[in-house]
Amino acid sequence: MSHLPYPRPKSIAQGKKEDEMVGAFTRRTVLAGAAAATAAMSVGAVDSPASAQTRQDMILFVLLSGALTGIAEAKLAPGFRAVPSLTDIDLEKSEPGSDPVDIKQEYFNWVNKKRQATLRRLLQITKDSPKSSDRSQAIIDKVQATPDTKYLARSIVLMWYLGAWYDPDNLRALAELPNPPAKASSFEVISPKAYTQGWALRVAQAHPMGFSEMQFGYWARPPSPRTDFIGN
């Protein structure tokens, strides 16, 4: 069977090995000192781009992503612990999460490289958001105030959902122009790992196509409840 035509991709990351992708190697800076922590798979040091990312930044990134995507923070970043609680977070005491896949690091590095300044603003919005139960909604409302935060927020959601990068400028063209150029539809897959971590089909109680972690015959039964998949 052949497939129906797809939109034309902008550029293809061909032959790019997963190891070369930024984020395959975990690096953390802790308070005053920098301690390169070797993740379970050590491949060789990969610098995170220009500005040093702090532990706080990562916690804020996870909170931001949780609010925007609707997926539980502890699912996006296994091991994430909000202390004392999700609505009343102490950024010093909370845990950004620690897991073998560590896709949050790969995504943070990616967005930081693409739109560092706007990312900073999104993290600030997250930090300034009220400590209340509708904090997620407050973040969602605030990011839509200006086009650059609005569209970067959308790029971040698509990144988590599809493991692919839809550039904010392209998203803006698609959303606002009556006749967007063809290239505005293009996107690039971030890495094989990112593709397999996509949430779009987990929200549907399934899995990314080409990546099942389930066993023979599961499709003959109704799936587990959605909350098993997304935590919320």
Binding site: E18, D19, A24, T26, R28, V30, G33, A35, A37, T38, A39, A40, M41, S42, V43, G44, A72, E73, A74, K75, P78, G79, F80, R81, A82, S85, L86, E95, G97, S98, D99, P100, V101, P192, K193, T196, R202, Q205, H207, G210, F211, E213, M214, Q215, F216, G217, Y218, A220, R221, P223, S224, D228, F229, G231
Partner: protein
Amino acid sequence: MHYNRSAAVAVLGLVGALSSFHSSQAQVPAQPTPTAQPPKPLGQPCNLLSDLVPANPPSPKPPTDPSKLTLTRVDATTKNTILNSGLPCQENVSTQGPDKAKTPLENLQRGFDFYSWLTFIALNSPADGRPIDQATPNTKTKWEDKANFKQLLDVMLPGGAASEWTDKIPPPPGCKSQFDGNPDLMVIDMIEETFNQPFKTGALIDQQGNYALFDILMNRQMFDYIKKHKLYSKREQLSAANSNLKIDFPAGTNPPDGQVEGGDPGGIIIKVSWKILDSDQEKRKFHTVDALVSLPRHDPATEPPCLRKTLGLIGFHVMHKTKSRLPWIWTSFEHVDNVPEEQEVKSRKLKPSYSFYNPRCNTTTCPVNQTPPRPWDPTPSLGLKFHSPFKSQIVRTTSLTDDTKKMNKQFLGILKGTVWENYMLLSTQWPSDFNCARKVASDAKPELDPNTDAEKEPDMNCAPAPTFLANSTLETYSQGSVPLASSSCMACHGNATSYQLPSADTNPNVKFFNQSDFTFMLEKAR
């Protein structure tokens, strides 16, 4: 001194993948050098050592301040204790550690690696009960003792025949005369999987032109479960009686808090790789076994040749199921001279020789990690020598982590002077989603009946850490980091199934499972 189990920390009902978990832990006082003891059954009692000890002075309560934790010393002062501590029944791991820079994942990994070393030492300790530092290269190990472990083909018998644990299975007829003269020899009855890696991914040829050989063994607990449910027979697997069986091998459990006895190691499966040792010089650096190797049977009428060989251990996998890690814990060791790491090749920091790599051959003449030219089946007239001049040129593409290298250095230090100083841990793969990994029937969801470990969605493997793991002699050709395509113990074993069939009863509420609890052994039932 005992610590109580601490509860997982839950946040708004969302439980993270890693919880602070200390299992029962005993502090073993320093002992004088032990004399030979009568052999203890493996895991009796359970080894309760952990990679962490409380800071001085020992206190009955767990330290609330992680900075008071220290790593268990692995050196001359603790050598005897550690080398004689026995087999762990369950892992003793913690998200905590003395180094603030380490993540919870790294702390747990260190705990698992420590557990792996204890396991390796216990299994490879002399079968006669002496401590491992008194072993010579060819001292029979505990796992080579048929009282403790049985080879897969001695359980999956022709015709699906039943057997007892104590049955002495006769060797293939072609080996009979040699075996009768020397019943202590290990017998390897070669099948496809003895020389061809899983899913027929390739044979492995050493630098002397010999085939590497692979074998699988199981412990008593595995055998008893298989026997109880008649899983040694393909026909029985297919039968209606087994339609609704959810395969669930016994899990290792520590003794109850405060006790020393009462634990059980649960199911353990070993997979080994051997190198054929032709020269005496080679024999000194490997743990060796004298064996009879019966070549693969091609034609039911003729007996294949049975060759007397000295085998050297080059790879060692352990699968251990524990109550807290139901998707099993996966350990892999290798001989230090097998292959160089990719980094070492790039920086030319190479040894003068390796078993599966020629440092003097360039990548054009000797392309790396390529399978041998076919045919791969051994040629009977050549014994176990490969038919062509080809030698496998293998490189390990994923480096060991610094933490694992550090631990290896310590353990090789206390094993110095024995042949076991030539073996190193690659890593331990373990399910990092703790709440997924330890789900028990009592957590059953009524709407999912029958509840089973196999039903976990979305990830029945519970987030393996590290994501990928490959032994250069056992998963030689599928090394890498591409999801599903590259070697990962759990991602691959999670696909293992039996021959079970759905019951004829088409009651839609009865769910069918043929997941074989992470082992491919049941496929071999005849």
